[in-house]
């Protein structure tokens, strides 16, 4: 079950990567920081707000941060090189992390369990599981479904897809491509923050918990094929379960090394991802 819980979070981070990648063709190395920021803000706000409101406010604040980042750092760059974008987003992730360090310090924080407590569990057909796991999986599924609906059914979602398919053609149809990029940062910041809120009762959150998540989310995004959000969910489950099994064989300290080893293996052997086709991958710009 732990595997599926972590897998859900990895999938959510991976979807965040995919949304921005689809809109801009860049990998946002600061994606994990959105997750951390969401968790941290929710914990702070929960001190004087009820839990649902605190989470909502945290998501809104992180969304605004995402928009500000895009407007300040990304929007006005004219066709930046990949190397430049990689370095800029890494710089942004350092900035967010260091700001968090100076606001919240090095202490480890956590939200309370949404229902019940860390000790209680629910009997589900003979298996006892923690209630928070159900929340994580449930909300995770809801996010994926909502995104699917957004991109396929709403006008705004369709415009965003048009931009990722062909930016110039979308412009000719009267779509403001620049705004769509801002929107993509906002959406991926929002789902990252939501992911941070639902997972933080289980994993806790600290100022530097974003980077490992970003690496794993990226692994999942690659595993499923960059830009393919449906496959990312499956890939997230695979990584989560592999990781939780690896603890039986290897010391816990190496857990992170496992997922990175998987990442490297996939990059070397099948960069299109296990669900992706090499033909489609060749068309994308790296």
């Amino acid at each position: 079950m732990a595997g599926i819980t972590y897998g859900t979070i990895y999938a959510i981070v991976a979807i965040g990567f995919n949304i921005i990648y689809n809109a801009t063709g860049i990998i946002n190395f600061a994606q994990g920081e959105f997750v951390m920021l969401g968790g941290m803000t929710a914990v702070t706000l929960n001190q004087f707000l009820p839990l649902p409101l605190a989470i909502l406010a945290a998501v809104v604040i992180t969304t605004i941060v995402g928009a500000v980042i895009e407007i300040v750092f990304i929007r006005w760059l004219h066709k930046p090189s990949v190397l430049r974008m990689v370095i800029i987003t890494i710089g942004i992730s350092i900035l967010i992390r260091e700001t968090a360090l100076h606001i919240w310090g090095e202490s480890v924080k956590a939200l309370p369990y949404f229902t019940g407590s860390s000790g209680s569990s629910i009997n589900l057909g003979g298996v006892y599981i923690s209630s928070q796991i159900l929340w994580v999986v449930g909300i995770g599924a809801l996010v994926v479904a909502a995104l699917g609906a957004f991109f396929n059914l709403t006008m705004l979602g369709r415009q965003m897809r048009a931009c990722s398919a062909n930016r110039d053609a979308a412009r000719l149809c009267g779509i403001d491509a620049g705004n769509m990029v801002t929107l993509s940062f906002m959406v991926s910041a929002a789902i990252g923050a939501l992911g941070g809120c639902i997972i933080c009762p289980i994993t806790y959150v600290q100022y530097d918990s974003g980077t490992p998540l970003a690496i794993k989310g990226f692994t999942v995004a690659i595993l499923g094929g960059l830009g393919n959000s449906t496959a990312a969910v499956g890939a997230g489950m695979i990584l989560g379960i592999l990781e939780s099994f690896s603890i039986w064989v290897l010391p816990t300290a190496y857990k992170e090394a496992i997922s990175i080893a998987i990442l490297l293996a996939i990059l070397f052997l099948k960069p299109a991802g296990i669900f992706g086709s090499p033909e489609a991958a060749r068309l994308k710009e790296f």
């Binding site: 990689v86 370095i87 980077t211 690496i215 190496y254 490297l264």
Partner: protein, 357 residues
């Protein structure tokens, strides 16, 4: 020829001038941080060669630094006394082991620093070839992520491995006796000689790299950087040149790790951290990517300020901000070759635009 070595001589003069300045102002304690700066500069110039000239980014060079440092630290502190055997006695007879007392007077039998250094470099070369082979086939995001991943694996390994000291790292690393009377150690009595030794090594590294840049290999790398497919079509073995540059820069980082570990008397897992790798890339970027002198001078200034603690708790944040500002406003670096002429042109066109070259 003279144009190539004039800056080298000027730089050597600067090094001497700094030492004399600290001598006359009685601030010789600055030399300690300056010596450490020299070793970090060794990584920077090696990385500059890889990023600027071969056009390949590496976000994992702290990993190579840590491999060098940890191998040297482990071998020179690992007591072989309780492990007698044919191999150990053979090593002992060939003079590869040294007996010395530790801080508590217990006698130790450890590997000689020279052998440990050789082992560290050898291991680095092997790992760099193994990692570099597949990694350098990647481009853009994938290359950045893969090297970042390599760095994190090294970090996690040293952090999670008991015999490497886990979170505490390895301490009590002995000095490195190079020649008689020449020891790499943090003792304040050997401060001046160590300062010159470290910077002498940097100058040596610079001469090597400058010659490389102006050789057949350097021109081939420039072609690879400019247009890889075209270079390949011209018959340049692009993959091999990229890989060899990668290994060379890894060796620079590893050697720096070995020597700095002996100088500091220890190494901790933070040296392998991602932030260190990012910092090295930041310094190369500020220096102007393909500008060895720019990278070296920026390394001298920034590493020194950072080691003296001028950035306080904002140490990492400073490098993050620098990275963003440079990449947003001057992606070619602050110290690029045509900066002066750019400035002049900007001034002659419009005096108000002086700030925006």
């Amino acid at each position: 020829m003279a144009r190539r070595y004039l800056p080298v001589a000027a730089f050597a003069g600067l090094i001497v001038a700094i030492q004399l300045a600290t001598l006359f102002t009685g601030t010789a304690y600055h030399l300690t941080q300056l010596t450490m700066t020299a070793y970090y500069s060794l990584i920077i110039v090696g990385l500059c060669m890889l990023i600027g000239y071969a056009g390949q980014i590496s976000l994992g060079h702290a990993g190579f630094f840590a491999i060098g440092g940890y191998v040297a630290a482990f071998l020179t502190t690992w007591n072989l006394k309780p492990h007698p055997g044919a191999f150990v006695s053979l090593l002992g007879k060939s003079g590869a082991l040294v007996a010395r007392p530790d801080a508590y007077g217990v006698s130790l039998l450890t590997v000689h620093p020279w052998l440990a250094c050789a082992a560290a470099i050898l291991l680095t070369v092997v790992i760099a070839y193994l990692v570099g082979g597949p990694v350098l086939k990647l481009k853009g995001h994938y290359l950045a992520m893969a090297t970042l991943g390599f760095g994190i694996i090294v970090y996690r390994m040293v952090l999670g491995t008991e015999f490497l000291g886990a979170a505490d790292g390895i301490s009590d690393v002995p000095g490195f006796p190079l020649l008689s009377g020449m020891v790499i150690t943090g003792n304040s009595s050997a401060r001046v000689s160590n300062y010159y030794l470290a910077w002498g090594l940097v100058v040596l590294g610079m001469v090597l790299l400058l010659n490389l840049v102006h050789s057949r290999v350097g021109r081939a790398l420039a072609a690879v950087h400019g247009a890889e497919d075209a270079a390949g079509a011209m018959g340049i073995p692009t993959a091999r040149y990229k890989l060899n540059t990668f290994v060379l820069s890894a060796v620079f980082a590893s050697l720096a790790g070995v020597l700095l570990t002996h100088y500091n008397g220890g190494i901790g897992p933070s040296e392998a951290g991602v932030m260190k790798s990012v910092r090295y890339v930041a310094i190369v970027a500020i220096g102007g990517m393909a500008n060895l002198w720019g990278a070296l001078s920026m390394s001298l200034v920034l590493n020194y300020l950072s080691l003296r603690g001028y950035f306080g708790t904002y140490d990492d944040a400073v490098f993050g901000v620098i990275l963003i500002l440079i990449m947003l406003f001057a992606p070619d670096g602050l110290l690029r070759r045509h900066l002066l002429s750019d400035l002049k042109r900007a001034v002659s066109r419009n005096p108000a635009e002086e700030e925006a070259p």
